[in-house]
Symmetry: C4
C-alpha cells in the first residue's frame, strides 16, 4: 500500500523531475517588508479559498486508513483549504455529504458511459458539489511497476509476501477488517456492504470510468450537463489548455498525475509558465504533481498558478493518523506558507509574481 | 556471461549516456484523443512490421540459454516484430530456416574475406533471408573490461572463479552440457558437432569476419552481390550516412553497438536527428543502443526513426526463460508501446513527430 | 547541538547550493609571479583588517563550549581577523569588553522594541563596539527540521534521546554544568546567574528582538541612532542593497543566513555579482554563507567582496577545542589564504578581480 | 603512500573535474576507413616519439617501489614512449644515465638557487638529457589533505597507524628496507647512502628547489643556460603561454599538476583549446592531468595537443609490479590507443582534429 501511494510510473523519471523542477527554481526575498500575518486567501473559479491548496483526488485511499477521503473533507475546510474527492473514493458522495462539514469538490473521468455519468452528475447536484474536476490524463492506468512487483491489485491477491505484510502491520489490518474501505463506493449505488460476488462487475464498471474511448466531444457534453464550475485536470500542452478554454471550462489543472501515468513527461512546474501564457487571464490555472512544501506552492503561485493540488502529503498523513494525521499535515503546510511569505517579505499570495524568483544567466 | 551481456566498453561512459540520452527527452501528450487501439505498424525497407522494433543481433547468445537466436526468431514474428540474427549466431542459417516460422533478418560484417562472404550470401539467398544488415562499427572488438576481469573468452578458459560460477548455476550448466551452443555455427559448414581441435581455426575464421581491413569499396561490392534490402548498422556521423546512401543501401542503423565498442562516443539517440536530417527521406533510419522501454521507442520514432533495435532486453529474457522468456519480454515491450501511444494521445506510430516532444529553454 | 550548528532549513537545498556555488567557480592562476608574502589586508567600512574574514555572528554558541563567543573575540584579533558577535551571544557586551583584547563587532536585529534597542545601543557605545551589523533576514526563524527532529530548543526539553545524548558526551556535559552558557546574556541585564523562573520572559524578550514587525523606517531610525559604521546583513536582492545604501548604511553583507532561513533562495556567492554591480563603489560588500576554505574567500573577493563572514568553521573549532580550537581553525584559514594567493600568483587581495577566474563557454 | 599518489588538493574538486572534462568530450568515429596499423608517432620539440605519451615526472616514487623512476626510464623507451624524470627523483641523473637504455627527459624547478641550478644543468648536459621541462605551478606545495590526515612526510614520522600500515605490507616494507629509495638523490651529490643526520639539510635544499621566489626573469635565465629543447609545465592561462613563447621555450605543458596544487582550477583538458589557439603553431602544446586512457590521449590530440603526460597510471603500475608493472601499464595504454584509432577510423594521430569530436547544441 505504501509503494502504491509513494511510487510512480516505470523508471519514475517524471516522479523525480517533479521535485527537481521545484528545486531548480530559486526564491528571491525582499528585506524589511513588515509582513506579520500574510494574506493566504485565493480564489478558484470564483470560490474563495482561505489557503491556496487543495487535497488532490486519489483513488481508494481507504486502504491506507478507514477515515479515507472523509478525513480530507473534514480537515481541509477546517483550515481554510479545500478537498477534491475522487470518483474512486471509498466514501460515496452521499456519505461525504453527511459526514463532512462542507461538501468537498468532486473529481470524475470523462463520460465513457454517459448514463452512468449522468447519474453521477445528478448525485453531485443533489449533494451540492460546489466544483467538478474532470481528469483527462487517464485513458488507461499508468504502468506502476512497484504495484506490479508487489502484485498490488483490487481486489487484493493473496500472496505469501502480501499475507506477511498484512500480519506485520496488525493495527492497520485490524482497522481495515473493522471498516473495510477498499472499494470505490460511488459505484455501489445505495448498498452499504459490498458482497464478494459483486466485486468483479463493480470493478469493471469503475475501470470503465477511466477509458480511452473519450474525446473533446465528451468534454463538450459534460460542460453542457454540469451547471457549476468545471476544472480540467491533467493538461501539459498549451494547445490543449486553449482548447479546453474554448470548450468552456473554468479552470485548468496542470498535472502529470504525480508522475503516475506516462513516464517521461516533463515536470508540471516546468510547463506551467507556457500554460499560463497560453490561457492568459481567461481561466484559473492550478498546479498539481510534486508539491510537498509551502515553498513549492509559493513558487507555483509566482509562476501564475492560483492554487496547488497536494496529493501524497495528505495521504501520508491519513495513513499515519487518520483524520488527525491529515489535520497535522495540512497544518504544517499552512505554517510553511506563512513562514515562507514572511521570509519572502510578501504580504499576500495575490502579489506573488516572477519578481520573487531569481534567475541566473547560468 | 551476465557481465558479458550487461557490460560495455572501458568506463561505460557511452553505456550510461545511452540511457541519459533517452531520459533527457520529454514526451508531451495530447489529451482526450480517443486512442484505443493505436496502430503500431511500420515499414523498414519496404518490409511491413507489425511492431516498430527488431531483436538486435548479438553474438553467441547460446551461452545464455541453448534456445539462443532461435528463440528470437520464433518469438519476434509471433508478436509482429522481427529478429535480426548475427553472423556469430549459435544457430546456422540453415538451422534457423528449419526451426523458425519465418526466416529472420541476417547481420554480417563487411567482406574481409570475399570468398567466405560469397558463400555466406549464397546460403542467405538459399534460406531466403529477407533483409541483410552489415555492421560497420567492429573493425576490432571493443575493450569490454568486465570480460577481461572475468577472463571471459571463447573457448572458455577454466579458472577457479569460472569453475565455481558454473557449479553454482547447475541448471544453466546442465542445459549447456546437453546442448552446447557456444560456437558460431555459421562458420562450421555442415557439421553438427564441433570437435575440440577444430575450435581454434574456427574461431580464427570467425574473428576474421570482423576485420579492420575493410572499406567503402567492400560495401560497394556487397551491395552489388546482395539483391535484397540492405541496412548499414553502426553509423554515428552524418557524412557516413550520406555516403552509405550514395553506395545504395536501403537503410541506416544509428548505433554505438550498445556502448560496447568505442567508449566515449555520443548516445545514438542524441545523434539520431542529425542523421535523419542528412539522409532526408532517401532511406529508412533505425535506432539501436540504449532502448529498454516502449517510451524509448516512441521517442526515437518522434525524432525520425522508422523502428528500433532492441538488444539486451531480449537476451535477458532468453537467459531467464529461453523462448518463453523472449516472448515475455517482447510482450512487455508491445504493451508498453500500446500504453504509451494511448497516454500520448497518438493513434499511429506513423504520426509520431517532434510535436510530441517537449523542449524547454532551460 | 551538532545538527543545530550543521543543519539548514527544510530540504537544505540552499545549504547545498551554497557549496555548489563556490565549486562552480574556477580560479585561473598566473605563473611565475614571485609572490612570497601576499598582502592579505583589507578594509571594511574604513576599519583595517589584517585578514579578509570575520567570525560570523551565531547565536548561543556557548552550548557547544563555554568559551562561546569570547573564544572568537580573543582568537580573531590575534590573527588579524575580526569577530562579529550576535545579540544572542552567551556573553554580554560587558563581559566581552572585559575579556577580549579588542572589542568585537556587534550584530543586532532591527529595532522591534525601540526602548530595548536604545538601551542596547547605549551599552554598545559604552563598550566601544567599533561596528554594528543589523540582520534583516530573520523576520521569523527558519524551519530547521533537524532541530525539530531532535526537539532542540531553548530552554532544552528533556527527552530520553536528549538525555542519552548528554550522557554519552560526559566531557561536554561537565563543562556545560560548570559554566552553563546557554542563555542570551545581553537580555539579562547585569545579573550573573539566570534563575530558572526568569527564563521564559527572558526568552520571550530575546525572540522579540527578531520580529517581522520591522521595516525600512526602523533601519532609518537605527541609522540615526548609531554614529559608527553600520552593516546590513542578509541582502540577496539588488534593489534592497540600493535601498540600504540610500538609507545610509556603510556596507552590505550578502547572505542567506547559511541556508538556515528561507530554503530555496540562491547561493549568496551566485547573487554577489549583481549586488556588487548595483551598489558600485558606494559601500563595501561582504559575503556570508557557504564559506569554508581560503579558496572560497579568494573567489568572493575576485567577484567584488571586501571580506567574508565565516560561520560554521569557527563554531566547529569552538566545539572541538574552545578558544584553542577557534585559533586552530582561523590559522588554517589564514594558511589556506596565503597558499591560495601564492599559487594564484597574486600579491595582494586588493588586486583580486574576475581576471583570476576562469569562465568557459560551457 | 597510496593516498599520497592517488589524492589531490583540498576538496579534490579539480581532481574530479579533470576526469569530467574528458568524459564531457565525445568522439565521433568514421566508418569503414580500413585502418589496421594506425600511425601513433608524434614529435615534441623536434624529438620523435613512437607513442604520443610521456611518463609524467612525479617525485619520490621510490617509496612505492625501489625500481622508482628507473622503471619508467626503462619501460617507456622500449615501447616508443618517453619518460620525464623529476628533479626529486629517487634516482640521480647519473644513476639513470647508467641504468636506462636511453637518457630520460628531465624536469626541474625554476632556479631559486642559481648555483645549485647551474650545477644541475651541467650534470644534465653531461648525462645528455635530451629535453628539459621546467615546472612553474609549484611556488609552494599544494594542500593535500590526505597526506595531512595520514601524517605523510619525508622523512616519515612514526605513528602507530603508520607503523601498522608498514607491518601489514611486509613485501613492500622488505623491499624498502633492502633498497631504501625515499630521498631525492639529485640533492645528495655523489654519495650512495644518505646518513640520517644529513637528511634535514638535504630536504631543506630540495624544498628550496620549489620556491615562490622565482619569476619570468628566472625563466629567461634558464633559457639562456640550457641549449636544448625546453618545455614549460603548469600553464593554464593563455597570456602565460604567450609569454613563455616570447621567452623562447619550445613547448607548453597545460597542467594543473594532477589536481594536486591549487584546488578549484579548471580541468586542463577544458583550457587546452584556449592555449592552443593563443600559441598557434609557434610551439608544441602538451597536456597533463587526468589522462588515464587511450581515449583521453586521443581527445587531447583532437584538441591540438602533440602528446600527453601520464602520471598516476605508471606509478600505480610501479607500485604493483616495479618495472614489469610499468611495462604492463604502458602496454595497456598503447593497446587502447591502437584500438581507439582503429575504431575511430583514423590512420594517424597527426590527422586527429576537432572533426573527430562530437558537439551537440545541448
Amino acid at each position: 500500500v505504501f509503494d502504491h501511494i509513494d511510487g510512480g510510473a516505470e523508471c519514475e523519471v517524471t516522479l523525480t523531475q517533479n521535485r527537481e523542477g521545484f528545486d531548480d527554481i530559486s526564491l528571491l526575498p525582499r528585506a524589511l517588508m513588515h509582513v506579520t500575518q500574510p494574506d493566504l486567501a485565493t480564489s478558484v473559479c470564483g470560490i474563495r479559498l482561505g489557503l491556496p491548496f487543495i487535497c488532490a483526488p486519489t483513488g481508494l485511499v481507504g486502504a491506507a486508513h478507514p477515515d479515507g477521503e472523509l478525513a480530507a473533507s473534514i480537515a481541509a475546510p477546517e483550515i481554510g483549504a479545500k478537498a477534491l474527492v475522487s470518483t474512486h473514493a471509498t466514501y460515496s458522495l452521499e456519505e461525504l455529504a453527511l459526514g463532512a462539514p462542507e461538501m468537498p469538490w468532486f473529481q470524475l473521468y470523462p463520460p465513457a458511459d454517459r448514463d452512468f455519468c449522468t447519474a453521477l452528475l445528478e448525485r453531485a447536484l443533489v449533494t451540492k458539489v460546489p466544483l467538478l474536476a474532470v481528469t483527462v490524463d487517464v485513458p488507461v492506468p499508468g504502468n506502476r511497476e512497484r504495484d506490479v512487483a508487489h502484485r498490488y491489485s483490487i481486489p487484493p491477491k493473496v500472496t505469501p509476501k502480501n499475507a506477511w505484510s498484512v500480519m506485520s502491520h496488525p493495527t492497520w489490518a485490524l482497522r481495515l477488517v473493522r471498516n473495510p474501505r477498499i472499494f470505490p463506493k460511488n459505484f455501489v449505488g445505495g448498498s452499504d456492504r459490498v458482497r464478494y460476488r459483486e466485486v468483479i462487475p463493480l470493478l469493471r464498471k469503475s475501470m470503465g470510468a477511466m477509458s480511452p474511448r473519450v474525446d473533446w466531444d465528451d468534454l463538450d457534453w459534460l460542460r453542457s450537463q454540469w451547471p457549476g464550475p468545471l476544472l480540467v485536470k491533467g493538461i501539459l500542452r498549451s494547445e490543449d489548455a486553449r482548447r479546453a478554454v474554448d470548450a468552456g471550462v473554468d479552470g485548468i489543472v496542470v498535472s502529470n498525475h504525480g508522475g503516475r501515468q506516462l513516464d517521461g513527461v516533463p515536470a508540471s512546474i516546468r510547463v506551467l509558465p507556457s500554460i499560463v501564457e497560453s490561457v492568459g487571464s481567461d481561466v484559473d490555472v492550478l498546479l498539481d504533481s510534486g508539491v510537498r512544501r509551502g515553498t513549492d506552492i509559493v513558487k507555483a503561485l509566482c509562476l501564475g498558478a492560483k492554487a496547488c493540488l497536494v496529493g501524497r502529503p495528505w495521504v501520508y498523513g491519513l495513513a499515519a493518523g487518520g483524520t488527525e494525521g491529515v489535520r497535522a499535515v495540512l497544518g504544517v503546510l499552512r505554517d510553511e506558507l506563512v513562514r515562507t511569505m514572511v521570509l519572502l517579505g510578501c504580504s499576500s499570495v495575490k502579489e506573488l509574481s516572477p519578481e520573487y524568483l531569481w534567475t541566473s544567466s547560468k
